[in-house]
Symmetry: C3
Subunit: 273 residues, 3 copies
């Protein structure tokens, strides 16, 4: 069911404008290339409108925001909205600082986001207006589990309705919801949390998937998440004794590079609630 979406990415080769953090930006670029898209990075306010105009999607990630890049985020976001481009927000560390929380909230007010992707603590912060994020990782007390799944799915749908966006909450169990439907995804491995930036990488891929599948946006976001999680599983199968998180990072990106429709359909584990 989802396999076709990655084929569409490879056929279209969507160009994704990224205003993202300098920690994981190289991996974000290589992951976008791996899935069949093309990345371009620009955060200078005087540059972003021109750059986003030639792209198909925009990924705004506040992981290492600064005064100048924040201005760039607003300008790029509004321009992308004007042009009808896909826009994603990754509110990295919302809840961990006032600047991050306020920037994310103000972005949501002034820019229409097709997708908001974060961990559960970041998403809760956006809803509540304040948070308890433990750095850039989710608070364990907040985690989506089998025990609270029904409530969490309802929450995801509510947030999706509130922000009129697809909401992707990633963690051990991933949720991808619009106001009516929620994909509950069980791909990936816990060892992925020991690599920096798998979330950022996902946020780079999603606009490529959505731009290439405009009539099935919810499926496209779910497919991107299943692609990352499946790649985490395939990459782990290839690990050798002595390998660690650095090699695992490479193997995951490699697995995305080699992902085809059949492999994605074979690995993807989800239900729709």
């Amino acid at each position: 069911m989802l396999g076709k979406t990655i084929e569409n990415v490879r056929n279209m080769g969507p160009l994704v404008h990224n205003i993202t953090n300098y920690v994981t930006v190289n991996d974000v670029a290589n992951v976008i290339l791996a899935c069949g898209g093309s990345p371009i990075m620009s955060d200078e306010p005087d540059d972003v409108e021109d750059i986003t105009s030639i792209c198909h999607g925009l990924n705004i990630n506040i992981g290492t925001l600064n005064k100048s890049s924040i201005e760039g985020m607003f300008k790029a976001g509004k321009k992308a909205n004007e042009l009808g481009h896909i826009v994603l927000l990754d509110p990295v560390g919302a809840g961990a600082s006032a600047l991050r929380t306020n920037t994310a909230l103000k972005l949501i007010e002034e820019v229409k986001f097709d997708v908001i992707r974060g961990n559960i603590s970041e998403i809760k912060t956006l809803v509540l207006g304040s948070g308890t994020t433990k750095g850039v990782d989710a608070d364990a007390a907040d985690a989506v589990t089998d025990a609270n799944l029904k409530d969490m799915v309802a929450l995801a749908k509510e947030v999706a309705e509130k922000f009129d966006s697809i909401i992707a909450i990633t963690g051990a169990i991933d949720l991808v919801a619009d106001k009516d439907r929620c994909f509950v995804i069980r791909n990936g491995r816990p060892e992925m949390g020991r690599i920096t930036g798998t979330g950022c990488q996902l946020s780079g891929m999603i606009p490529a998937f959505v731009a290439a599948n405009p009539d099935n946006k919810l499926e496209a976001v779910a497919a991107a998440i299943c692609t990352m999680g499946s790649a985490g599983e395939i990459g782990f199968e290839r690990m050798q004794p002595g390998d660690g998180n650095s090699t695992y990072r490479n193997r995951i990106i490699d697995a995305i590079f080699n992902m085809d429709a059949a492999t994605l359909d074979k690995y993807a584990k989800f239900e729709i609630m």
Copy 2:
């Protein structure tokens, strides 16, 4: 013929100052180390003159330019000129935004560049003053091919004369020209386009090659490009089933690390027109 040039890099260990983008900067640093040089990065206007003064070459890459780093580019470029250091311009995305096009053109006006390296769309933009760059990749319609080779070689020589610089146009076929001679290089593999930053890496290596071979600048630039392309071929030979663009990136840098004069001479495929 070109093998000696990389030996000279390894013997001299030139120090290269890089004002480059934050996307590919880590790979640029590792590639400069791999070929025998030493990298230092600094873009703060108040820092760049001191830093460039202790270096042998300067690499200016506008891939993620901002107001502050642009100021740093002009200050560093002028200082490096004063000191007679090798200076290279990589006009990433010229043609994709007014800021990039204008910054590249103004840099060329105010700084003397020994080498300008870009894809064909970026180089055409510099000549025409405007462009049709598709993001950071060349427009396919512009590509150097066997069918238009003679015209493209003539164009490269003209641009070299116009800017009084060595012009390196990289793509499936690479051209390295001064006003009289043009190396036509056929190394590398198409899969290198699926890795972010092989062009940026090349722009980091070139000042090291030229600084270590001051009497043969054109050959030095050609040798750097043959080194990157040969490493792309050698790295590809080492790919295993399941490997993708992330591992390929590592194998290319590894192959540069292991490149010696004999290997470079064996792999380098070029003619002079």
Copy 3:
């Protein structure tokens, strides 16, 4: 003796705030994760106080300092001091530019550092107020050797007393001193100098080690350095024909990921003088 310290890091999972350079930041993040800590990066002056408040340690690295991040360093350092957090300074390139030298000296005046880690040229610059740093690498004439070891140990202790900090001078022989004791460490391999950022990575790990071992700070710093050096040895054992500095980088981080108390105790080579 040192093995227990890395177990403590893995048990505690300390959160480390990094204001570091954009060249090696991704490797710094992955190395902190590899040793059992958690990284967060933020350099915006309006963000750093909130971020450092939720962390256990702060790593200030001036490798690509700019006006904005310098302001962030002072604000974060003072806040971390207020909260009693571990604070480390990595004076990258002190001696190579006036801005770097002056920033490092002013930071030492206004912020209390638990640890200062640099190469010998950088540390000498801090003492003398000016330096002869060759880029970001130590001047060979300054190196710690068996011939000058006694004098260098005395120097390290003096500097430690002067700055009331643990001083870590890394090179072929590493010194970790407070005013009374100096660990002389002989781990690592010369090939590590051909990878960008092993020093930066170490500076990211040290606050995690010290935060998790508050009653044995000197041992904790020594253990972090032995971990990096041992990983350099273990990673090198795993190198295959054709591998180079890019793969070596991955194997070192992998070896840190897999480092346990027994392995660290087996590999660590040090004496206390």
